[in-house]
């Protein structure tokens, strides 16, 4: 079992500002602006990867998200059909578990969101029922952390190193999909 990374937001307010800066970093946003993550062939390939993630980890929801400074964008989603989140195509960034991946630059693990004082009052937990989460960074070819590949459950759950390895491998595959799209753009 891997330790949950959310020890009551251990660093707390002390490093909240640098973390927020990571989200708003202009170089990171410029890197996102260069990605072709909304191209149909890119979303189709990323959708195949999130379906693979959900199956491999037996999780009902898997997402590939691009995390902007003010919102997260669901580039590929499995398990959200019929929800308001699918209709909207994302959430405000302050509700996004994936924002923690960007802010920390490392995997973010939540075994039970109701046990964390910050996440326990997140509307996605209180009103939509999210309980557990594992997300890993999605980087571009320049190394910028542009988003996250994640799995979500409505039940508490422990994760192990195998889960993390699976998700990291799929995030590598997702990066290659985005790289390929970059290559296409360069040839235009």
């Amino acid at each position: 079992m891997i330790a949950r990374s959310l020890e009551p937001n251990a660093a707390g307010a002390v490093d909240a500002v640098p973390r927020r800066r990571a989200l708003e970093d202009s170089d990171r946003l410029a890197a996102i602006a260069d990605l072709r993550f909304r191209d149909r062939d890119v979303t189709a390939r990323l959708t195949a990867l999130v379906e693979q993630a959900a199956r491999a980890m037996s999780m009902p929801i898997a997402l590939c998200n691009i995390v902007l400074d003010d919102a997260q964008v669901f580039v590929a989603a499995r398990g959200l059909d019929g929800t308001w989140m699918a209709e909207v195509g994302g959430t405000p960034v302050e509700w996004a578990f994936c924002a923690n991946v960007i802010e920390r630059g490392e995997p973010f693990v939540v075994t039970d969101a109701t046990e964390d004082p910050v996440l326990a009052v997140n509307p996605l937990v209180v009103e939509d029922g999210i309980r557990s989460y594992l997300g890993v960074p999605l980087t571009d070819r320049g190394g910028a952390t542009v988003g996250s590949l994640c799995t979500i459950d409505m039940q508490p759950r422990d994760f192990d190193e195998d889960d993390l390895a699976v998700l990291r491998d799929l995030a590598d595959a997702a990066r290659r999909v985005l790289d390929d799209a970059h290559g296409t753009e360069d040839q235009d």
Binding site: I66, V73, V88, G90, P92, V93
Partner: protein, 95 residues
């Protein structure tokens, strides 16, 4: 941390942003170019004068901008998702 308002149905939603508030966000990333983009998109969706006086107009302009490539496209997309979240969660679910 969670800046929200409550709907009459008790659902938590992010507050809707006015045209000026959205423009302020766009200016943060794009500087003065934000106003040029905004004005052009207003014209594109048929707003004359090029202002978005209500939330429906703001959303229409954001939809036009979010379809563009580059930084303006993603900054507008973020604002569009926030607005859609607020509007969608404020809507009463069919029983």
């Amino acid at each position: 941390m969670y800046t929200t308002v409550q709907t009459t149905g008790g659902r938590t939603v992010p507050p809707l942003r006015s045209e000026e508030q959205v423009l302020a966000v766009l200016r943060r990333s794009l500087g003065d170019d934000a106003d040029a983009h905004w004005g052009a998109a207003c014209c594109e969706v048929g707003l004359d004068p090029p202002r978005a006086p209500d939330i429906a107009a703001v959303v229409a302009v954001l939809e036009a901008l979010a379809g563009r490539s580059g930084l303006i496209g993603i900054v507008a997309l973020g604002q569009l998702i926030r607005a859609r979240t607020s509007l969608r969660l404020s809507r009463k679910e069919p029983s």
